[in-house]
Symmetry: C2
């Protein structure tokens, strides 16, 4: 009962932090709030308060709310990549041909459903204005902040894992189509379809979640198989 879930993270431990420390602290606070309450229910003021800091300070570390979001997204991608690599490593190549791909898809879906809010952020939100070079004018601006490139990097790397596995299946003659990139997109679209459907329409009726997932994966795998 002692946890009203929202109280200043570290009670006035240190007052002045290094830029990096502050940045991570703000980021952590924001991530927590975003995930717990949904992005649009969280104001910069609340993030600031919970981080024990002034709203304006956030703008010295992040260009605006969207950038803050974006930074959270990058963590998401790193997590996804880790999960994917773990999934791949868990199934030896010598296994039944589609074992690794299946595990990869399962991992993707699990990961998405385990982080629904960030998933929505990353994959279901426009987030598109792209805000290129909008940095605040006054004061010294934020350090580096690669904005898009970096996280595209992470995203592409995650996609690359999928594409690689597909390519392997093509080379061993197991697929009916030989355009690895296109097939990877098809497979991804399927995984994304499941996750995003369950995220926004999880409440309702529906076939039991586990069954729907495995049915979908079975179906798509048998659809791409030669």
């Amino acid at each position: 009962m002692s946890n009203d879930p929202l109280s200043p993270a570290d009670p006035p431990a240190r007052r002045r932090l290094s830029a990096d420390e502050r940045r991570s602290q703000i980021l952590a606070t924001a991530r927590r709030l975003f995930v717990e309450e949904g992005v649009e229910n969280v104001s910069m003021r609340r993030i600031a308060a919970l981080a024990g800091v002034t709203p304006t300070l956030i703008y010295h570390h992040f260009a605006d709310k969207e950038s803050l979001l974006l930074a959270v997204c990058q963590n998401f991608f790193r997590g996804l990549i880790d999960a994917s690599e773990a999934a791949m490593a868990a199934v030896p190549e010598t296994e039944v041909p589609f074992g690794r791909l299946r595990r990869l898809m399962e991992g993707y879906v699990e990961f998405g459903l385990a982080n629904p809010d960030v998933y929505r952020l990353v994959f279901m939100t426009k987030l598109a204005g792209l805000k290129r070079e909008k940095m605040p004018s006054g004061h010294r601006p934020h350090p580096a902040e690669p904005a898009l490139p970096e996280d595209q990097g992470f995203g592409l790397r995650a996609f690359g894992l999928l594409e690689g596995e597909i390519r392997r299946l093509i080379e061993s003659g197991h697929l009916r189509q030989d355009d690895a990139c296109a097939m990877a997109e098809v497979v991804w679209a399927t995984g994304h379809g499941i996750v995003s459907l369950l995220i926004t329409h999880g409440d309702f009726q529906w076939t039991p979640v586990d069954r729907l997932i495995s049915l979908s994966i079975d179906t798509i795998l048998s659809g791409i198989a030669r």
Copy 2:
């Protein structure tokens, strides 16, 4: 060049309108703005201004911004149902077995891509608070406003079309699974995956859209086929 796209719809034609007329007029204005500029870039004040009306008046016809949105969604479902029925009617039953289902999926994807913003609204947005009985307290409140039930009705009806076709395929022994509802969900998830992926990540690299779509549909159809 005479069209700065946003000017009062009917310049002070009639001043006082009947409740129904006003409701539709506001709805039309909102729909236009939502679709043209994205929901969160449109304020109640702007809708009101464009409709030649006061912000407050909107709240006498709709509970809040979300309800306004919801009303727009219902139109979307009606459109989807029409498109689906047209698709079904266009392919005679005597055709090749999967002809109608394929056309149905194509129709779904086309429709989604033709109305990306409303699609996002309906299928990719939480929209979940559900706001049950939140109506404003003052004044006479809005007429009826079935809130959720009605539009779930439309949504279910659309889903029913898909499920029906699947059921037909099961009965004629063309599918490898016989759970019509589950298979319909699997198929829907695929369609949704394509649409939502293209909506949020249409800009990028990707296989040409048309190819990705037909490849996906081919794949899922051959995945469910016996």
